[in-house]
């Protein structure tokens, strides 16, 4: 999987909301979420970053999980978005949109500079 084009700090900040969004779109397990993030342009998200985040989101009640046995393997832990998770994602999306709008407005060149 390609390296992320974004600074690591940016990815870390965006990750909780993005992971919730991936799980909202489709019931997913860790490795699948990592792949979806890679396809979405977040690069290779390490297991050491993703799984503690999933555990934290589950402990907070934003995600629920069930284990499904695999054939001979350790199985997969599937995550689904809870009602609280949906609420958190909505709040996150709204706040993120406001933040990026504010940031873009400040970063845009001023008339004097043009």
């Amino acid at each position: 999987m390609d390296e992320s084009p974004w600074p690591t700090d940016w990815v870390r900040v965006a990750l909780p909301g993005v992971v919730l969004a991936v799980v909202r779109d489709e019931e997913s397990y860790g490795y699948l979420i990592a792949q979806r993030l890679g396809v979405a342009g977040f690069g290779s998200v390490k297991g050491s970053v993703l799984y503690p985040l999933l555990t934290r989101l589950e402990q907070d009640g934003a995600l629920a999980s069930t284990w499904r046995e695999g054939s001979g393997g350790p199985g997969r832990k599937y995550y689904t978005l809870t009602e609280m998770g949906q609420q958190r994602l909505d709040e996150y999306a709204t706040a993120w949109a406001r933040f990026t709008t504010s940031t873009a407005a400040v970063l845009a060149p001023t008339k004097d500079a043009q």
Binding site: G30, A34, Y51, G73, K77
Partner: protein, 139 residues
């Protein structure tokens, strides 16, 4: 690769247990690591970092665990010292010629008992500390 995964998850299980992560939570963490590694075929250390580094994400090393080696040595000294003094005290009562550093048999028994109580207190403190961390574990 399977051997590498087995070694990694075994070491991770031990490390999480040492850090007082509840067994059922540790099992879920380890099983998820195993699931990811089997599916992705990635190298464990490349995907998750070293075992200690990954365990840090779930529980910091407690002061007791960092002091584990000195605590084990202290416990061994207290235990063996206690046994030595108590046995010498008993032998001193049976045979007054049996001496130790010029101490009376009763004094030896008392010192042995005090050392034993110190050992029990140390074990109790470590157990209570461990239980508290176990019951309050949260990411």
């Amino acid at each position: 690769m399977t051997g590498k995964i087995d070694d990694y998850v075994t070491e991770l299980t031990e490390e999480l247990s040492l850090r007082d992560v509840p067994p059922e939570a540790a099992e879920r963490i380890v099983r998820e690591v195993s699931s990811h590694l089997v599916e992705s075929g990635e190298d464990p250390v490349h995907a998750f970092g070293t075992v200690k580094h990954y365990a840090d994400e779930f529980a910091s090393r407690s002061r007791t665990r960092r002091m584990l080696v000195p605590l084990v040595i202290l416990s061994a000294l207290l235990g063996s010292g206690s046994a030595l003094m108590v046995l010498n005290g008993i032998f001193g009562f049976i045979n007054p010629a049996h001496g130790l550093w010029g101490l009376e048999p009763l004094t030896r028994l008392v010192i042995g008992a005090v050392l034993f109580v110190c050992l029990l207190a140390l074990i109790a403190v470590m157990t209570v500390h461990s239980r508290r961390r176990l019951s309050s574990w949260k990411l």
